[in-house]
């Protein structure tokens, strides 16, 4: 498979069941690939957690653990970029509707920190709606940018 318009080569393309077992296996796969790509342990922890949070959102909030709905999971790599895309079949969401978990009124909530952690550990994070339904989230980590995680 050749590089896409960003120069990234797709190294993994899977269709996952909407289960926590899928989340576990995909997270382990991503960590292995990122380690091979040259990321250090702190980055590996952050990438793994970000991908886990994103996959959990897809299987739980997007697909509602439905056995009829799938998650499309891809890893695309170039020598300096590690990109993961995760697409669900849910109703979608607007980033601006997600409460800030650091706001005083939200600090003691028992949920709502997933997107915040994804943004904290990845260099790029974007969301787009899919047709006819669903959401695709893209996570990017740049190799060797020196940003502490």
């Amino acid at each position: 498979m050749g590089p896409d318009t960003n120069g990234d080569v797709c190294t993994v393309e899977q269709v996952l069941d909407s289960t926590l077992e899928s989340v576990d296996s995909a997270e382990l796969l991503v960590i292995d690939l990122a380690r091979t790509a040259g990321f250090g342990e702190d980055d590996l922890m952050g990438i793994g957690l970000a991908v886990r949070e994103c996959l959990v959102n897809a299987v739980k909030h997007g697909n509602g653990f439905s056995p009829m709905k799938k998650v499309r999971f891809r890893v695309l790599q170039s020598p300096c970029r590690f990109r993961v895309t995760i697409g669900d079949e849910g109703a979608g969401f607007k980033l601006e509707d997600v409460p800030d978990p650091l706001a005083p009124e939200n600090l003691m909530r028992g949920s709502g920190r997933g997107l915040f952690l994804i943004r904290a550990f990845m260099d790029e994070f974007s969301v787009r709606g899919l047709e006819p339904h669903g959401t695709e989230v893209t996570l990017v980590k740049v190799l060797g940018n020196g940003r502490p995680t």
């Binding site: 926590l20 989340v23 922890m45 957690l49 886990r52 949070e53 959990v56 739980k60 978990p101 650091l102 600090l107 003691m108 909530r109 028992g110 949920s111 709502g112 920190r113 997933g114 915040f116 952690l117 904290a120």
Partner: protein, 114 residues
């Protein structure tokens, strides 16, 4: 088993030694059940030893927050012991580190209860 919880009593304080992963699903549920069980039995002084927690996600962090709120609302005290670097970093990033009473030594934590 993603997580293993072991209770032990130190005076009137229940120490829960937590080992493994606190993530959405089994890990978070086990922690929630353990805290609810103690509260239902009237135990109000609880020390969570997280020294052997290898992994925690946002669900696990949420469970710590919910547990803290539940115990506090029942007039109890929930404190944290032996945070790994990973757990400490996540609590700091989420601005929760100062919400909890965190200790590095069990003896110090035990003395900190009223």
């Amino acid at each position: 088993m993603s997580v293993n919880l072991t209770n032990r009593q130190v005076g009137d304080i229940t120490v829960i030694d937590v080992a493994g992963r606190i993530t959405l699903g089994e890990g978070s549920s086990a922690l929630r059940d353990a805290l609810r069980d103690l509260i239902s039995k009237g135990q109000k002084k609880i020390l969570l030893n997280l020294g052997d927690v290898s992994y925690i996600d946002s669900s696990g962090i949420g469970e710590l927050v919910s547990g803290f709120t539940t115990v506090t609302n029942q007039g109890g005290q929930l404190k944290l012991l032996n945070l790994t670097k990973r757990v400490k970093d996540l609590l700091q990033i989420t601005k929760l580190y100062t919400v909890f009473d965190v200790h590095d030594e069990e003896s110090t934590a035990i003395r900190a209860y009223n």
